[in-house]
Symmetry: D2
Subunit: 342 residues, 4 copies
Amino acid sequence: MIPDFSCDYKNGAHPAVLKKLVETNGEILNTYGFDKYSAEAKEKIREACGLPDAEVFFISGGTQTNMTVISSVLRSYQGVICASTGHINCHESGAVEATGHKIIPLPHHEGKLDADELSAYLSDFYKNESRDHMVFPGMVYISYPTEYGTIYTKDELTKLRRVCDEYGLYLFLDGARLGYGLTCGACDITLKELAALCDAFYIGGTKVGALCGEAVVFHKDKTPEHFITLIKRGGAMLAKSRVVGVQFSALFTDDLYFRIAKNGADKAEELKALFIKKGYELFIDSPTNQQFVILDDETLQRLEGKVGFEVWERAGKNRTVVRFASSWSTTEEEIEYLSCLL
Amino acid sequence: MIPDFSCDYKNGAHPAVLKKLVETNGEILNTYGFDKYSAEAKEKIREACGLPDAEVFFISGGTQTNMTVISSVLRSYQGVICASTGHINCHESGAVEATGHKIIPLPHHEGKLDADELSAYLSDFYKNESRDHMVFPGMVYISYPTEYGTIYTKDELTKLRRVCDEYGLYLFLDGARLGYGLTCGACDITLKELAALCDAFYIGGTKVGALCGEAVVFHKDKTPEHFITLIKRGGAMLAKSRVVGVQFSALFTDDLYFRIAKNGADKAEELKALFIKKGYELFIDSPTNQQFVILDDETLQRLEGKVGFEVWERAGKNRTVVRFASSWSTTEEEIEYLSCLL
Amino acid sequence: MIPDFSCDYKNGAHPAVLKKLVETNGEILNTYGFDKYSAEAKEKIREACGLPDAEVFFISGGTQTNMTVISSVLRSYQGVICASTGHINCHESGAVEATGHKIIPLPHHEGKLDADELSAYLSDFYKNESRDHMVFPGMVYISYPTEYGTIYTKDELTKLRRVCDEYGLYLFLDGARLGYGLTCGACDITLKELAALCDAFYIGGTKVGALCGEAVVFHKDKTPEHFITLIKRGGAMLAKSRVVGVQFSALFTDDLYFRIAKNGADKAEELKALFIKKGYELFIDSPTNQQFVILDDETLQRLEGKVGFEVWERAGKNRTVVRFASSWSTTEEEIEYLSCLL
Amino acid sequence: MIPDFSCDYKNGAHPAVLKKLVETNGEILNTYGFDKYSAEAKEKIREACGLPDAEVFFISGGTQTNMTVISSVLRSYQGVICASTGHINCHESGAVEATGHKIIPLPHHEGKLDADELSAYLSDFYKNESRDHMVFPGMVYISYPTEYGTIYTKDELTKLRRVCDEYGLYLFLDGARLGYGLTCGACDITLKELAALCDAFYIGGTKVGALCGEAVVFHKDKTPEHFITLIKRGGAMLAKSRVVGVQFSALFTDDLYFRIAKNGADKAEELKALFIKKGYELFIDSPTNQQFVILDDETLQRLEGKVGFEVWERAGKNRTVVRFASSWSTTEEEIEYLSCLL
């Protein structure tokens, strides 16, 4: 079987996660979020995040998490600010707008939002005499890592937090690939520090060892009222909540989540070194598990069908940006296989 | 462990379903609905339904399925008719209204909609000179079995179909417990016949052997345009679609779905016989896996903590309706245990 | 021209209202609610209502007012309770649901909601263990007068207020025909008393002397945040706000609103007396400007084309309920004309 | 009274419009769009547009018209493309998103959308393999004149139409200031030609002689089904539809609409000539009734309070873009007054 680097969710569950699903399968458990494994997993997540009072909820996928959190936090007159490349703005089929809220895109810098530009936007907004005829900014949405694999430094996150505080904005972090960000070499922040800086964020399971499921973490006083009902209203509640609860319980036992994420980040380093060594041009200098490389048409055709990767976007005449993604399950053999092809 | 009859989704997956999840876990599979197990499962479902051209989609839960289908089929000026006891009207936290559509409840008869009453409602509606200021009926939603465990006869379904045809309404059947309906003794219709009578329906997995997942089946020419995008927009798309695809593939291999559902229906018969024998009063004569019994307060207190059941509603002074649900996993031992208590 | 009693909004504006529109037409005025006539009208309304701190907004029509207020007050997980006959539930084409909220209808009593039944509903709701899967009641909507012309007594309103207080519900009163209620003989409450009992209500202009426009009055601490933006978002903001401001300024000068409304109420009394005298059967004993009479088919046919009235609903074989509405513009001559026909 | 050029809707109605409102005020007329003046006005508009089969509807304001038309035409999976400066994208408080649809902004060129850029966007979209996870373009929204006062040439509109045809997009034109566009010197298209090129458009009344009201014109086969109900559902239906019907009947009698619009366009020419003569810098070379001039801070302060204009946006250090708007009611005296100040 040829290796597939096209994305980080074509694999199954991590064996330890699957094992726990199998071991607990015979048990009779409460439903709708009240099973004991969900309770156990929530406690472990609170501890890992250093937020003993946090409210934690499990939702089956990322788009669903984003739309449920965003629509629950925002008031009707508010919209959500994000980098123009934000997942909610580009690849969620208008899910946020479907809940009635405008997305306010600001320019991105390799996928990131700039705190100064955010501040300038907000300052202008509140000086604008027509602002009552506009959408009020209510939240800042950022991805960590971003859609281009880049990560915010602790300093950058702190500055964003400061701007949010100044303008009363809610800071929500999409951590679909959180593990790959926190375990990469360039990361200068801990989960606890990141958790402290956000009002809410989610820890992605789907891309880091689970079959499905994301864990949303809210600071206690920033939890939307009746969030359980809002989850149900959005169709995001699993009857057998054990499915996600058990998986997150496994992922947050003995640091499994971070240990397996580190493999994804490490393999990405190897991929990057390989591309550089072989003279390929990087589209972006990503420190995490998504590597973006520019291929000329000849190389593109040569590689197609020999190894899995994803065509991202055109980069001018005869040149295409493609993505190679590693994950917790990427093996040394797969890297070597690729090495021989390049 | 004391037996728990409170609902039919506290158990895990059927062993054969779990086995297939384990066996396929190591494979690298396509995503977003395009994995081979989803393709395989869809083909098996088309065959079981006798609809070779049907479009089949997998969605992780029932509320999500209902809201996605209903909001995709209806035009903005339309609402959905259902029995007042319909799940969408009572226990989905307003999910359908959240998509902008009114639910038009008609009186229920042991959970069922009456074709004559439906016809009378529609006739009145189209005679009403103010109808442009009202919500146009666009769909009829029915549950099979209903929320009270009852089932429509083939004749009743055929009559509903006829009324829908007469008034250009879409007929959608919520089959969260479809297996328990089709395998019960009172059932006089086959899956193929039922499938032919509806425009769309869903086959419930969560309550019949799966960990999660429902299979929506559309007649080809009644499939909403761009339904994949609508699933994504509603947050209902699993990245690792294998999760549900594999389970349904297992459930529709060698009639597993129906064989295990039959156990739930059979055990319900035993439960009912037991209650009758012991002199309990049935609240409703349900032929399927949900049995509704009236308990006086003394009995209620005596049983509480000794066996699992669900309090449904008050039935006057000192009397309470409770639900005992069987499922594919209910055992003879559990029935006997209960028998000793009653 | 034959008199038309079919509804109370086929006439134009009251002459004094029109006169003020003409007189002020040449002025250059601020827009979007900030013109001086709107300011003046708001002040007069605050005074008439005995609510010096109230926030008052003008919106061009009733449905728009209802949907804007209801969607602004409710949180996403909440719905609005009303009598099953409530205008929002029957004749607004699903406008409230279009904003994402469920309407929770309770039985009506000649169009009115019963405080005890409301209380029982709420008590049951909060005892229901499944309530997190239901729509939380957030508001009570009542019409005064109701869609059947009936009015709540002061005692009835006070009881509803008490229930709302007990359960933290917002009380919103639809006063599309408020003037005809407050000036009828059966009314035992003043505008100030009514205003004190509600959290918000609207004073209908369209049916009481204006060409268009309703005035929403909020208790200061019950005004939705950024309501101006919410009005704009709902498309309900007139650029030339003078249109409604000037009309309400005229209506609330020298008690014009109530003086002209009284004509509507008085003429309704005459209509009712006439029907009774002539041996017609009243469908409901309405004290306000809408009179509902039962006609046999022969009489119905005889009157059709000779005088304007509205067919309301069938009342069994050969019998039809019809509505005769009076208004501020109904004349003695019109009543006499009708008298000769009956 | 100092002249006010800040916007084009601080005045009242044109005298002939007001006169017709007064003359018809005593009549008893049908409601909800079925009054005879609405019928008469629709017929006149059809004729003026050269679309004998067109469906015409009256709605009270521009935002309401935009949101009602856009949400009625689009399917759930679709969004609307517009220039980033489009009114719907900037100054309608998120009204379109409130109906569940994304706005897809493309770069503007002095307020205009470029047909080639539109075509490139669409071509890329349909080549994008992730398009099922994106919002499908369903409509192109343009303003004529644009928010910067510029107008599309006939050739530009024809090219946009061609692109829309190629990709199956609906072309909707916001004509809030249509009159000022069609009567300006730079205009090279007739109303009939413009009407033929769009699927739907609206003729703005509020800014061109009316107190309120816009006329939406649909090509017959592009009219949304049950549009009357959709107007009601959006709260956009006036009970006394005569209010807008009578005004449009007056405006489309003897070409009044265009005759008075021409005054606005002509006065704008004079304003522009004046600014140029006095050495002011134009921000944009607008041919219609909105003129955008750059003022240095000193001039800005000098003019403030002496004449009405609107601050638009900062144009760098010490420089501000301001808008001077003329209208049908702008007089020679007002221009002369301004001339003395500059």
